[in-house]
C-alpha cells in the first residue's frame, strides 16, 4: 500500500478537487460573458435650470414617456429634472409640458415619477446614483439597483461644452467624472451593457475618457458643433424640443414593444442636415454588432427568451441562452410574445436575489466563492464536482485510518 500511495501522487490527488473547484469559479467570475441580460434600467437626466431651457425638460420627459411605453417600469427609471417647468409661473399651460407645438401630448400627465428634482439634481447625486453609493436614508426608489445582468440607458441633456456638461448653472460634470463613474459601475457589476445618449452641444467630447467594456455611447454633435432646438412653440414662447431628441422620438414613435429595429437602424436614422449637427457614436468598447442589437434592449425591457420544457427546470439556462443568441433577430411575432411573458418572471426573480449577493461580494475571497456557490445556475455542476472531490477525501481518510 505504501508503494502505491506515495506522497507525490497524494499531492496530485489533493490538487485535483482544488483545480476543479477553481475552474468552476473562474468560469463564473467573468460575468460579462456569463451574466444574462436580465433587466433594464434607465437613468434620464435633465441638467439645466431656467425657463428658457424648457426644451431640456421636455426632451427628458419625452424620452421618459418613450421608455415607459416600451416597457421599462417606473421603478426602474431614475428621472432627474433640474427644474420644474410645469409649475413655472411663466408657463402658459400650468402643470403641463409639451414637446410639440400642436400640444396634443401632455408629457407631464398623471404617471410621472420624478426621482430627483430641482436642486437635488447635482453632479454629486448623479454620480451617487450611477455608482450606487448612497447614504443609508436614500429610499430604494431613488437608487439604481442594477446588477451585472442589467442593460442601462443613460440619457442626458442640457448645456455642454468640450468634455463637460453643465449641471444647474453652477456645476460641471466632466468627461473624466463620467468615465470614472462608469468604470466603478463596471467593477461593481452594476451593468452588463450601458448605452449613454447625450443631447448637448459638443456631446461627443463627453465620451472621450470612457474605457469600460460594454459601453456604447451616442452624442448629438461632434466637437465644435452645437446642438440645436427643433422648433419654437410660439404659444408657450420657448423652444420645446431639441433636434436630436426630436428625431430620436420620431424613430421610436414608429415602434412598439414587439418591433425589432436594431440600434444601427436608430443610429443611421439621424440625418445631419436635419439635425444641423453630426451625431457621433462610439462603439469600440461594445462587443456586439449593432445590427443584431434591438433598440428595445435598451429603450424597452425586452430580453432574450429561455425556452424551457418544464416549469421549474430553468437551471441550464446558459445553454439555451446561447442558442437564442445564434438565432436571427427576425423572429416571428409569436416567439417574441412568448419571450416577453417569460421575461417578466425572470427579471423579477433575479432582481430579488442579486442585491443580497452583491453586498458581501467585495468583502473577502471566500464570500465570493460562497456567492458563486449560491448562484442557482451552477448547482448541478457544483454538485458533480463536489462528489468527485469527495472521492480523494474518502481515499485519504481510509488511508489515514489504516
Amino acid at each position: 500500500m505504501e508503494t502505491f500511495i506515495n506522497p507525490k501522487s497524494l499531492f496530485h490527488l489533493l490538487l485535483l478537487p482544488c483545480l476543479l473547484l477553481y475552474s468552476s469559479i473562474a468560469y463564473n467570475s467573468s460575468p460579462v460573458e456569463a451574466a444574462m441580460h436580465t433587466n433594464n434600467w434607465a437613468v434620464l437626466v435633465c441638467t439645466s435650470r431656467f425657463w428658457f431651457n424648457y426644451r431640456h425638460m421636455a426632451n427628458t420627459l419625452s424620452l421618459y414617456r418613450t421608455v415607459k411605453r416600451l416597457g421599462i417600469p417606473d421603478e426602474r427609471i431614475i428621472l432627474m429634472l433640474a427644474d420644474d417647468m410645469a409649475c413655472n409661473t411663466r408657463n402658459k399651460y400650468p402643470a403641463q409640458v409639451f414637446n410639440n407645438e400642436n400640444h396634443r401630448l401632455n408629457l407631464y400627465g398623471d404617471n410621472v415619477e420624478v426621482d430627483y428634482r430641482g436642486y437635488e439634481v447635482t453632479v454629486e447625486n448623479f454620480l451617487r446614483v450611477l455608482t450606487g453609493r448612497h447614504e443609508t436614508a436614500v429610499p430604494r426608489s431613488k437608487r439604481l439597483l442594477s446588477d451585472e445582468g442589467s442593460h442601462i440607458l443613460l440619457y442626458m441633456t442640457g448645456h455642454g461644452g468640450d468634455e463637460f456638461l453643465k449641471f444647474q448653472d453652477s456645476e460641471e460634470l466632466q468627461s473624466h467624472d463620467l468615465a470614472d463613474a462608469v468604470k466603478q459601475m463596471k467593477e461593481k457589476h452594476r451593468f452588463k451593457e450601458l448605452l449613454i445618449m447625450v443631447d448637448t452641444c459638443q456631446a461627443a467630447t463627453l465620451f472621450n475618457q470612457l474605457q469600460s467594456p460594454g459601453v456604447l455611447a451616442i452624442g448629438s454633435s461632434m466637437k465644435g458643433e452645437n446642438s440645436y432646438s427643433h422648433h419654437l412653440d410660439s404659444d408657450v414662447g420657448v423652444s420645446v424640443v431639441d433636434r436630436f431628441t426630436y428625431y430620436t422620438l420620431a424613430f421610436f414613435e414608429r415602434l412598439n414593444i414587439y418591433d425589432n429595429a436594431s440600434l444601427s437602424s436608430l443610429f443611421s436614422s439621424y440625418n445631419p442636415s436635419l439635425l444641423m449637427s453630426t451625431t457621433y457614436y462610439r462603439k469600440d468598447l461594445y462587443k456586439r454588432r449593432l445590427e443584431e442589437v434591438p433598440v428595445t434592449n435598451f429603450f424597452g425591457s425586452v430580453m432574450e427568451t429561455i425556452h424551457t420544457d418544464a416549469a421549474y427546470k430553468a437551471l441550464s439556462r446558459r445553454n439555451s441562452g446561447r442558442f437564442e443568441d445564434e438565432m436571427s433577430l427576425d423572429q416571428s411575432v409569436h416567439h417574441i410574445k412568448r419571450r416577453m411573458l417569460i421575461k417578466v418572471n425572470d427579471g423579477d426573480e433575479i432582481h430579488d436575489i442579486n442585491p443580497e449577493g452583491e453586498e458581501g461580494a467585495s468583502k473577502c475571497p471566500w464570500s465570493t466563492f460562497r456567492n458563486k456557490f449560491q448562484k442557482a445556475e451552477n448547482v448541478d455542476s457544483l454538485l458533480n464536482y463536489g462528489l468527485v472531490a469527495m472521492i480523494p477525501l474518502l481515499v485519504i481518510s481510509t488511508w489515514l485510518v489504516q
Binding site: T89, R90, N91, P94, G237
Partner: protein, 719 residues
Amino acid sequence: MAETKEKSLSDEKPKPRVRPIVRLGIFLISHSFHVSVVCCTAGVLALFLLPVLAKNTYISENALMPGSASPMLSNQHVSDGNRLVKDLTNPNSKSSETGIESHKIIAQYMLDLGAEVSFHKFHPQMNQFHPLHFFSSPDSGKIQENYSCSSYGINTVGIIRAPHGDGKEAIVLVTPYNALKSGFGEALSLGIAYSVFSLLTQVTWLAKDIIWLVADSQYGEYAAVAAWLREYQTPKFSSLSTPNAEMCPDVNNLFELKGHSISGSKFSNSFRRAGTMASALVLKVRDQNEQFEDTISIYAEASNGQMPNLDLINVVNYLAVHRQGLRVNVEKLWSLLNSSWLKSLGEIFESLAKVAKSLYPKWKFGIPATEYVEGTATLASSLYYQALGVPTGPHGAFRDYQVDAITLEISPKFSLDKVWRNDILLRGGRLIEGVIRSVNNLLEKFHQSFFLYLLTSPSKFVSVGVYMIAFAFLIAPLPMVAASLYVDANSSSNCSKGDSSTPSAITDTDEHSIAIRSWRWLNSAKLVFIVHLWGAIVSLLPYFISQIPDCSPTTSFMIWVLLSILSLLTLNSVLASPLACAKATQEKEWALVKSVTISSVFIGLGLMSVINFATAEIGALLMVPMCLLAQPLKLDVRAGTLRSFCRMICNLVLGHIAFPPAALFLLKGMLDGFGNANVGDFWMWVESLWAWNSATYLFIGMVQLPCWVLCISILFHTC
C-alpha cells in the same frame, strides 16, 4: 542670471542700469511735445472713428427671448382700448376743473378688469439747489409745507398680480396724462396701455406683477413719476401725508365716492405696492407728426449720463423692427446731418476702407458715407445728452433707483380715421406686450449686456472699451507734459543760477537754494489750489442767489458773475499776495503753474470720466488743447515768429471757447441758431443742471472754470 549678477558685483563701478520702463518714461517726457501732438490727434481721430467701429447690438441675455411668443393682443383688446380713448376724449369728462373725472374713468376701467386700483396724491416738489445732495439718493423725508389744496396731482395706479407668481417682482408701465389739457396723443397712449392691461389680466404666464401708472403730468411728467417712485421705494411712516389729504375736501370726495360706488371691490385708499421693479416702460404718443411712416423714438438717458441696460433697448428695437414693422429712431443732432465736412470725412473713411479691403479681403470695417454721417449725428447727440446729465424723460426717475427704464414715444403718421387708430393701437399694444413678455421671462435683473455705451443707431453701439480709447489718447499727454515742464523749469533756473553766481557764492548757499528750488512748485500748487477753492465757492453761489426773490435769469447771472469776480479778487489778495510778490520775479514761474494746472486737470478729467464719461470727453476736447498750448502772450509777442503767432491765435481762440458760458453759447448756436440766445440762458441752463443733480455742474464749477482761469492767468503772465 547668476553670471550677470556676479559680473555686476565684480565690476568696480557698475553702470547705472535704468529699467526699460523708466527709460521709456524719460524718452516720452523728453519728447513730450511730439507725443502730445500725436496723442491729441489720435484722440480726436479715434472719436471720429467711433461710428465706424460701432458694433451691431445683440441680445445678450438668454432668458429674454423676445418675439418667441406670438402676440396675444387681439382686436377685442383693441376695441376695449378704443372705448377708453373715446370716453376720455368725450367733452363731458373734461368738464371738471381738476380733471378728477377722467381719473375716475380710468380707475373705473381698471377696476372693471379686476385690477387693484389706488390713487396716489402728491404735491409737486419744486426743484431746488441742494449743494449737499449731489449723488445722494432722493430724500423721502423732506418737510412739505405751504401746499395749498389746489396744487396737487393724482396718479392713478393699477396693479395686476401675477396669477402664479410670488409677487416679488414687478414691471411698470407708465403713461403720462394731463387730465386738464390732454391732447389726443395722450389719450391714445392710455388706450394702448389699457388694451395691453386688459390682455394681461387674462393671461396665465405672468411671473411678475404689472403696475400701470397713469402719471398726472400737469406738473411735469418727471415730477409725477418721481413722486410716485419716492413713495413706492421709501415708505413714509409718519402721518404727514394723511392729514394733508384730509385737509383737502376735493380729494376726500374722490376717495369716498370711489369707495361707495364700488364697495367690496379692489379699490383701496392706501398706497399699493407690488414687488421689486424689474424694468419700466414709459409710453407716449406724440400729437403731431411730420413723418411719413409710423416711428418710435427711444429715449434712454437718465441723470448723469446713466443708461439702462442695452438689452432693454435691444428688445424694444428687435420687436419694433422685426415684429411690428415700426421704424425706430434715437435722438440725433439734426444739424450735423447736413454738414458737408462730415460727409466728406465719411467718404474718406469709406474709400480708406475700400483700399484696406482690396489689400486684405478680411478687413471689413467700412460703412457707407451716409451711414457714417447718421451714426456721427446720433453719437453726438448721445454724447451731448449723457454729458448734460439731465434725464431725457420720466424714465430718468427710475434710474435713480437702479431700475432699467426707457421712454418710448410713438409718432404715428397722423390721420383720424378709425382704421388707422385701431392699427396703431394694435401695433403699439403688441410691441408693449412683447416687451413685457420678454422682461417677464427674466430671472434676474438686467445684467448681461452693457450699461456703459453710446448709441450710433438703434441697432449699433460703441461700448465702453472702445470709446475709452479716444479719451485715453486725449488725456495721455497731460502727465508727460506736466513732468517735462516741471523738469524744464527746474533745470533752466539751475543753469541760469549757475551762470550768474560766482563759484564762491555757491558753496554755502547751494544746498539751501536747491532745497528751496525743489519746493518751488508748492507756490504754484497753492495758486492752483486757491483757484480751485474759488471754483467751489462759485459753484455754491447760485444757492444763495436763488434765494433772492423775483430775480430774472439775466440779473441772476449778472449777480453771479459779479460775485465770482469779487470773490476771486478777495481770495487772491487774502491768501496769495504775500508770497506771490516775492516770487513774481522768478523766471519760468508760469511753467510751474502750467505744470500743476495740467496735473490737476488730469486728475479732474480722470475722476469725471468715471462719473460721467461723456462730460469728461467733451471737457477734454476743450481743455486739453487749451492747457497744452497755454503760454504767456508776452513771450509769443517777443518771439515774433510765425509759429508763436499761430500759437497766440490758437490760445486766444481757445481761451474764448473754453469759457463755460461761451461754450454753451456756441453749442446752443450750433443747435438752434444764434438768434435766440441771450445772457440769461446760461443761468437757466445751470439751474436745470443743479435741479437734476447733474455732476456736469460740479465739473464745470470745480474743474473747467478753474482751469480756464489758470490758463488765462498764464496767458497774461508778466515775465
